[in-house]
Symmetry: C2
Subunit: 391 residues, 2 copies
Amino acid sequence: MQNFTFYSPTYFVFGKDTENQTGEYVKRFGGTKVLIHYGGGSVIRSGLLDRVKASLEKEGIAYTLLGGVQPNPRSGLVYQGIDLCRSEGVDFILAVGGGSTIDSAKAIAAGTLYDGDFWDFYSGTPIEKALPVATILTISAAGSEGSADSVITKEEGMFKRGASAEAFRPKFSILNPALTQTLPAYQTACGITDIMAHLYERYLTNTKDVEVTDRLLEALLLTMVHEGPKAVADPNNYEARANIMWAGMIGHNNACGVGRSQDWNSHNIEHELSALYDCAHGAGLAVTMPAVFTYVMNHDVMRFAQIATRVWGCQMDFAHPEETAKAGIEALRNFLISIGMPKNFAELGAKEEDIDKLVEVLCYGDGRTGTIDGFVTLNADDCRKIYQLMV
Amino acid sequence: MQNFTFYSPTYFVFGKDTENQTGEYVKRFGGTKVLIHYGGGSVIRSGLLDRVKASLEKEGIAYTLLGGVQPNPRSGLVYQGIDLCRSEGVDFILAVGGGSTIDSAKAIAAGTLYDGDFWDFYSGTPIEKALPVATILTISAAGSEGSADSVITKEEGMFKRGASAEAFRPKFSILNPALTQTLPAYQTACGITDIMAHLYERYLTNTKDVEVTDRLLEALLLTMVHEGPKAVADPNNYEARANIMWAGMIGHNNACGVGRSQDWNSHNIEHELSALYDCAHGAGLAVTMPAVFTYVMNHDVMRFAQIATRVWGCQMDFAHPEETAKAGIEALRNFLISIGMPKNFAELGAKEEDIDKLVEVLCYGDGRTGTIDGFVTLNADDCRKIYQLMV
């Protein structure tokens, strides 16, 4: 196991009706002037925004609003949020929504306290400080409610890049599974796929003897396989939503990924798809993961055979472990199709003729120099072949 | 899943040589006058105490020392520590040792800021505040390095009781698996047994549909079954020690136990054994667990069958699930014997003729009124029968 530090100081408030405690927790964590950041109309239509406002008002906490976060959140709104926080004297940012809203809130939080362009942070500049952020989660997917991460798309050039910082860990996160019950099956499945990708990206490691994190990641994948189809079949299944919600958080706050090298090339390769086509990140991952895993499988056949037997219940073929490894990837592909995810470029809305452009941005865009690092270091030729496998 | 809150704000610093960073972390978390609390001579002999002192001195941090913590830590030393902290103006407590030392440190931390008798906290009075505590762990077992818990034995009457508080979560914990390599096989096995008990006590729940935490607990049990015997066979196996150390923390900071009822009757029943005979807590649990599980198995046969198949690899007997359940308990018993744990009263040093006394203290001592609550509520007659099963 590699040396590591782990720090997840978020206060998680989990369960039914917990959004009504928002005001108390904002107060506890020192907020006096709050920016409520959200996406489209669903948090308004569902009455959630009103409940959150009422909870803040009950504690006498002032707030200002900034809606309009899109999926694959954009730099434009981040700049707008930074200006607003400065002009209004905001000292606490409350994200009400999913990963896009939370990631946008984190970017605003860091940018507000920074003299330069916030995009510096998404190009490698370390983040020293940020306004406190808290979340009220409405979709289990990105894990941003417990993570130190944020992903933003820069509108000039459509670069989609991530940043990480301790200051990005939310002060508190309100996780009410019932708030995710209004999600349609497709978005639910996208979220499940994203969570599974976070687990796979950690599972694909070059670090030896990491049984504890292997087992924890398998446990969370087994949970998704068990609970995911229930939530897709019946949006009102609170218990399935609850299991998925906790798995999504604990799967991405990195408690199960410490001390080991990780992959993240499925995310890297997918990011260019959702940046170019504005498709759902989870849907892009459903097409990307089986292609990447098929391409890199021979780098460590036994690792793929292990996940195939332990998670997918494949019989181990001791004479031909590569057959077991392949069967596990096929089982993943079939599972994702079964919950309604696309299986190729056509179903995703991506185009074969764009592959050169995708590879160019992926491998050379925004300062990269021809390769992306991970479980296997991939060059432009590798990435082209992987995109080709998705056609 | 039940509503819950989860807050684990400890900064974990994991890996080789990390104890040399102690001074930096004490500084980061605001300590200026430290009480170094420890047990016997092993932290002196190994040179650990000198390295910790050197690290504090490098940062210009003053300290005072209090050694002498015994296994099953006593109230007497806690009172002494409280006096010392007050007279020396200590503002930060650093526990260098295992669960006993950490639990003693937590008790001193709360007692120092309290006007009354610290034992009030171990009799149910809520803990409002405590001095900040940090840990340098030398044995994987109690999980106190990440937990909100502390267990102390009151010398008058030899009551062993626990207390929990958010203020008991350590500010930071330094987890260097190499520090556990000096432990003899027997103590290593006691630690493994304690960790497994923490997992079983959470697994035995009456809450339905808690797949995510079931799976996480199984993952950690599988890790102990895989890594435990390696550490017992070869004390210098760093990787096995590392897997056990992280499993021990994450298994008891409650990330894997949230939203479900838990048991803790094996701990309750064992506490009287280690209080009376001063045996190792883990050794007591090795004798206690199979007896308790055999006694309560019929309360939920399928739960015991599930852990038998998923953790112990037992074949499910669909016609007779109780046979599978029994086989799982037998597998646990055999595993514990295989790592050198005692299997009955005689091997533990306990006496059949003390059973009435044990039951009396367990069920009526220190304010209890005849029963202990958990997976199954047990009365004095139940507890007598369970102790009888251990003879």
